[in-house]
Symmetry: C2
Subunit: 236 residues, 2 copies
DNA sequence: TCAAAAGTGTTGTCCTTACACCCATGT
DNA sequence: ACATGGGTGTAAGGACAACACTTTTGA
């Protein structure tokens, strides 16, 4: 007996919301849009959209990310499904949240005129619609946790970056000061970085060597458990 | 302007599936049901059900867990949302998977006659409907990962348990032999266990002391990052 | 008295941390 | 020449892993 449809069941809207992180050199930022549409027109929110009939959740998230940023091949990971019956004030909607880590410079090259978007440092997030603040909070904790054991923060940097840049990123994400000697030893001991011959000369007179990821080793070791921050206890 | 409903959008069934783990003293097991209903009647599957109009996802998962096991106040955590458009052969359904850790003995006291359920060791999972095998695989990896840093496996044991029991649990979950001297030192150094005065005398002549969780400290330290297994590298 | 599992301590190695000085360069 | 940030080495302490013998008791 072939069944065609489940009867007497309640169908629900399924949406995606994207927490898009970028690093401005000092702080981790989130990309938000000012809604030009109802509901809650004029307020800030995460970029989101409904899941279409023929696409899976990952595809929907990629599509929505591309719609705002123009970017593809981005680090994107499912975070959590939010399903409070009243979280969306219009109609019940289950939202599957994804977080993305992008190189903030790549974004700035793109310009999307359909949405007015802006970066906000995590400590200065404005009031958001629905449960979007909760989503960002959870995403932040997830990135923090993940970055303590996996080399995921490289996704936030350009292809060429310096150790001081990398260190500020770690310091901001973990909200801690790190000793630069210990940091460089630890990071370099992973074998993931290849030193380039040229230097970045904007932010210091001496200049700091550029590094580049060894992509083979990066992929191979991504899921390995590394110890990337001094006191994992400082996480909660 | 108040909107009443999103127009032109596609509504989807939202279901919950529960991966219920129990430990039989030797192996980690999963509780499966033999479906007495369509679709796929007669095949093994996870326990699941649709999300009802007025309940959130956690509530739906608790309800479904209780329906099968009779148990409440169980460790239950959202795992992942599965949303391939064709994963359910009847009709598109997004399933939010949860995993539960229960004391297998508590379950056996309960008898649910509506469902014929059975425990399967992880290495002997039968063929399952839809994407349920993938769900179990992901849940297994999640438990393994989580247990390496957080004292979550206690949820699988009765209130009173012995160190050898705990050790076999860790050994099975991480698929590794652990030195008992190092293991007991590490576990006891967390300060989470209180030794009882009585012994378990079934499985050895000498008898092994019972321990009990210090619930205050357990709650306090649950999210702290502990090092609970010898070589985190043995995870992948 | 023997077998079977429980319980316990020490040592060497490695990893982690704390810490201070020199280097290169632009002004 | 000096100020600024980049880059490196070492020593002490703590954590981890490897390892073997004694204890208890039921048969």
């Amino acid at each position: 007996m072939q069944i065609k449809r489940y009867t007497h069941q309640n169908r629900i809207l399924v949406a995606i919301d994207c927490i898009i992180f970028g690093f401005d050199g000092t702080h981790l930022n989130v990309l938000l849009i000012k809604r030009g549409f109802e509901p809650q027109k004029g307020r800030w929110s995460l970029m989101g959209g409904f899941v279409l009939p023929e696409e899976n959740l990952d595809h929907a998230a990629s599509r929505i990310l591309k719609q705002l940023t123009g970017l593809t091949d981005i680090y994107l990971e499912q975070l959590y499904a939010f399903g409070d019956p009243y979280r969306d004030t219009v109609e019940r909607t289950v939202s599957v949240a994804y977080f993305a880590l992008i190189d903030i410079n790549k974004y700035e090259e793109q310009i999307n005129h359909e949405y007015s978007a802006a970066w906000f440092p995590l400590k200065k997030i404005p009031s958001l619609i629905f449960d979007h603040e909760e989503m960002i909070q959870m995403a932040k904790e997830k990135v923090q946790y993940k970055a303590a054991f996996h080399p995921v923060l490289f996704e936030l940097l350009p292809e060429k970056f310096t150790l001081p840049q990398l260190q500020s990123l770690y310091e901001d994400v973990h909200n801690a000061m790190i000793d630069k000697r210990n940091f460089s030893r630890k990071i370099l001991s992973t074998g993931l970085l290849i030193r380039q011959n040229d230097k970045e000369r904007e932010s210091s007179k001496k200049g700091a060597f550029y590094y580049r990821l060894d992509k083979r080793k990066y992929q191979a070791k991504f899921n390995a458990i590394l110890n990337l921050i001094p006191n994992p206890q400082s996480l909660k």
